[in-house]
Subunit: 211 residues, 2 copies
């Protein structure tokens, strides 16, 4: 059995936005697993296409996973109540992981050591692993933002952009849309931090080699 | 610049025992870095040779790093006072990381998500990174013991053994020796948990491919 066969034996489903973190996570996991990139959508926007474009550049398998609008409603209510988006975004991420865990043996995300959102506690992580009998992998959890930026630079050309200026495949964008429709544009300005940036992979670095 | 050149640009020093965790960490890091395996010794025993044997099997560069006996003394005093070894072992690990950080840009260990010993807090990790201006990498931090055992099985044939039956390159063994010499064998039996097991890589799995 060679490495290709080993990898084929095990497929990991990685929650994927096309940003630098989840793209680096994909690279690391591809060493051990066949990686399938999963982008969530509530079918409110077609922002998942941003992630699909990156998946094509990475030459990795890509799927969308539809989540019911009730999750978006619940998250929005939390956000309106909190007056900040962190807990609502975490709620969506947790629901996405649980949905993924229903049909997968290995689930993963690109959460970093110093991420604030969407970070599950160790107890919540173990709960998902036990309840759904899955392996939940967080390949970037042992690295700082500084280390990740350095590694990302070896593999990708990245663009950083502000949420107000361009749309991305993160949960935030359908959340913004939903809140705008339900509560109006003013709410968005009040709740979401200004100058919040996202990243997207523009192309593979010239030194990138398939791994 | 190809991947080999990228890797040569960055050398990571990984604290290494020859056990399954630090060996898997070495494999993961070897994707991005030139890896140098570092085994600590107080020159009380030659147990570091166990790690050297595994390093040869992995075909990776290996060095010992001598630590002053005062650290062993301090750790032993803590252990005698606590009546359990966890904090003393953590103290040695922290000193080892700091010593390594003095002359390295990238330091790493094989600590897992659900490890109890020797786990530094996030504050301690950041303190080392800031004080010594290093990257501190923990490539296994995002994986459970269950996931790691599965990955280890893909790469290595592993032997598990009890501390009383065989010696390994972990800190524990020189600690035991030091405490035995200073406080007598009875202390060892009282302090160290019975049936505590370690692992060592016996050989590479038949499916192992250099990465």
């Amino acid at each position: 059995m060679n490495l290709q066969e080993i990898k084929k034996n095990k497929k990991v489903h990685l929650l994927f936005s096309g940003g630098k973190d989840s793209s680096l996570a994909a690279i690391i996991l591809s060493k051990f697993f066949e990686v399938e990139l999963i982008t969530c959508t509530f079918r409110l926007l077609t922002n998942w296409r941003k992630a699909e474009e990156v998946a094509k550049k990475l030459k990795m398998s890509f799927k969308t996973m539809e989540l019911p609008e009730i999750i978006l409603e619940e998250a929005s209510e939390k956000i309106i109540k909190d007056n900040f988006p962190a807990n609502g975004i975490k709620l969506i991420h947790k629901k996405a992981l649980e949905r993924l865990a229903e049909t997968s043996e290995f689930i993963a995300d690109g959460v970093r050591r110093d991420d604030r959102v969407p970070v599950l506690s160790l107890a919540e992580i173990k709960q998902i692993e036990d309840k759904f009998n899955v392996h939940y992998l967080q390949p970037l959890m042992g690295y700082s933002r500084k280390t990740i930026n350095l590694l990302v630079g070896k593999f990708f050309i990245v663009k950083e952009y502000k949420s107000e200026e361009e749309i991305g495949a993160e949960y935030e964008f359908e959340l913004r849309e939903f809140i705008k429709r339900k509560y109006g544009s003013e709410k968005i300005k009040k709740i979401f931090p200004k100058n919040h940036t996202h990243s997207i992979i523009i192309k593979l670095s010239p030194s990138f080699l398939p791994l």
